[in-house]
């Protein structure tokens, strides 16, 4: 790797520190504002809060209905991720291990979905869900998320499974294990690391998604976090104390989890898009 003289080392640290400050400023201002009242936000924008109004958190949490939004985001993301992991790994397993007519065509059929940005199909998706009485339901949202994440998940999992040595499965097959047993008891545990990459990539994408809930969800009781915050912003216009606190409550748990699991997150989110 690069060898550096002392001077360039200093310069690089300087660049990295400046960049880090740029990352932190907006977030820390938001964090500070979340403790201030409206007047203080406008009059002393740069200072620490004179008094940490923890009560802001309670008010904003209630007003923005964050309990519900968190529950919705959690249930939708987790069910979608588990669902897509299951159905995609089943397809990936077949593609990696079985030889049958149209195998190549099936694979191309599925990964061609990587070339179709999901939101472009929103009108028919909207109509399909409407006709199935699944519009404005979490179930509808989950189905759409699962369906649109299949190509990516199959792609990653198939390539990973192909690289797993086949010997263990062979001996299980000789012992008379069924395909389902071999898949669930041998292949899935061996594919753990790829499953984690897919799970993180898909989870973060769904958790942060705004477009599909915006169009497919109507009632307040089913809003996911990005939609709930967006509606809250529409309702509370210039009440920046409430808005800052709600916004901060919506993002800081994510940042904390990211810090705890940053290695897996970074691996999942960068490899997911590139590999």
């Amino acid at each position: 790797m690069f060898r550096l003289r002392l001077f360039s080392k200093g310069l690089i640290y300087l660049i990295l520190i400046i960049y880090s400050i740029l990352v932190f400023i907006p977030l820390s201002i938001l964090a500070l504002n979340s403790f201030k009242d409206l007047r203080e936000i406008f009059q002393k924008p740069f200072s620490l809060p004179s008094y940490f109004r923890v009560e802001n958190y309670i008010v904003a949490w209630k007003q923005a209905n964050l309990t519900r939004a968190y529950l919705n985001s959690f249930s939708v993301s987790i069910v979608s991720v588990l669902g897509v992991l299951l159905i995609s790994s089943m397809i990936a397993y077949i593609l990696a291990r079985y030889d049958f007519p149209f195998r190549r065509i099936l694979y191309l059929y599925i990964i061609s979905g990587l070339a179709l940005p999901a939101r472009l199909a929103i009108i028919p998706i909207y109509l399909l869900l409407r006709d199935a009485a699944l519009l404005d339901t979490r179930m509808g949202l989950m189905l759409v998320y699962m369906a649109t994440r299949i190509p990516f998940s199959v792609f990653i999992l198939k390539h990973f499974m192909e690289a797993v040595p086949v010997e263990i499965e062979d001996s299980a097959r000789i012992d008379g294990a069924s395909p389902w047993k071999i898949y669930s008891l041998i292949m899935l545990p061996l594919s753990r690391s790829a499953l984690v990459v897919v799970a993180i990539f898909v989870f973060v994408g769904i958790w942060n998604d705004f477009f599909f809930p915006l169009i497919l969800i109507d009632s307040r009781s089913k809003e996911t976090i990005p939609l709930a915050i967006s509606v809250f912003f529409g309702e509370y216009g210039h009440q920046w104390d409430l808005l800052s606190t709600a916004l901060w409550l919506a993002i800081f748990p994510v940042i904390i989890i990211f810090f705890i699991m940053s290695k897996q997150f970074i691996k999942g989110m960068t490899q997911g898009a590139i590999k």
Binding site: Y13, Y93, A273, I274
Partner: protein
């Protein structure tokens, strides 16, 4: 053998069905809708190429080409800034000096925050009267530079692009960093023995070897740029103000198909036409993307 086909069938059928209905069928249906005029309820009226005519030369064309040109501007600027900044910071991190892992984590933080929420954070910071940016400029005596950042039609789109860079740069930094760290260390050793400077090494070794990664990232940026929506929605609303100066195909589509505030007509057919155009622009590039990543694996 027959039993084997049955298990193959049962393994693939749930995913294939779901994918076929919500992705393949939905796409086909969307393309076909572009030949109809339809508000979403009642009968569909077949109008042939009328929607396309409207978009390309008719009443709708000013808005359409305005939005399209903003997508192009978005793509060009975002690519230059995010890949440029990404490569510079990737180089800085690739020195692996002490603590680089901490910085690696820090640069990625904005990426885990939802784009709409990034939009709302910056919307407050950029507010002309109460926003911190203008307050800061005034307090250090640079009040002349204070601007209605999102309300000036000359700069609003560029400002939004910069917010996008703040959110996404970390991704490009880390992807490029991974590509640089993939280069065998012997290449560096050999170059140093030959007396090469870091600048020369960057230019003659690192850049050529990272080129495939740049290609894939540019392709992704292209696809994402023509699908951009969230930030503009959060910062300017579906009317993509001021005076449509931040309108992109995504917001134009939303207004057309689902009706934004103030636009009374809801035309799913015309909306599907906008989608077809986005599709026509993005699809060849997406195919290239699938080909490239499939070849890499």
């Amino acid at each position: 053998m027959k039993k084997e086909f049955l298990s193959i069938f049962l393994f693939i059928i749930p995913g294939v069905l779901l994918y076929t209905i919500f992705v393949v069928y939905a796409f086909g249906f969307s393309l076909s809708l572009s030949f109809f005029s339809w508000s979403g309820v009642g009968p569909k009226i077949f109008v042939g190429l009328q929607n396309y005519q409207k978009a390309l030369v008719g009443t709708y064309s000013t808005e359409f080409f305005g939005a399209l040109s903003h997508n192009v501007y978005f793509f060009v600027l975002v690519t230059i800034l995010e890949l440029g900044l990404g490569f510079l910071l990737a180089l800085a991190l690739a020195t692996q000096l002490r603590g680089y892992r901490v910085f690696q984590t820090i640069v990625f933080i904005p990426n885990v925050v939802s784009l709409v929420m990034v939009g709302f954070i910056w919307g407050m910071l950029l507010n002309p009267q109460m926003g911190l940016i203008n307050q800061f400029l005034r307090s250090v005596g640079l009040g002349d530079f204070a601007k209605p950042w999102l309300g000036d039609h000359n700069i609003a789109l560029t400002v939004i692009i910069l917010v996008n860079v703040w959110r996404n740069a970390g991704f490009y930094i880390l992807v490029l960093l991974a590509a640089i760290l993939n280069i065998p260390p012997e290449f560096f050793e050999a170059a140093y023995i030959d007396g090469a400077t870091n600048l020369k090494i960057t230019w003659h070794i690192v850049l050529p070897l990272v080129k495939p990664t740049f290609q894939i990232l540019t392709i992704l940026l292209f696809i994402w740029s023509f699908n951009t929506f969230d930030l503009i929605y959060a910062l300017e609303g579906v009317q993509a103000g001021p005076f449509r100066s931040t309108d992109v195909l995504g917001t134009l589509f939303y207004r057309t198909a689902f009706g934004g505030l103030g636009s009374s007509c809801m035309d799913m057919g015309l909306g599907a036409t906008v989608v077809t155009f986005i599709f026509a622009i993005v699809f060849p590039v997406s195919i290239l993307y699938v080909y490239l990543i499939e070849r890499r694996s």
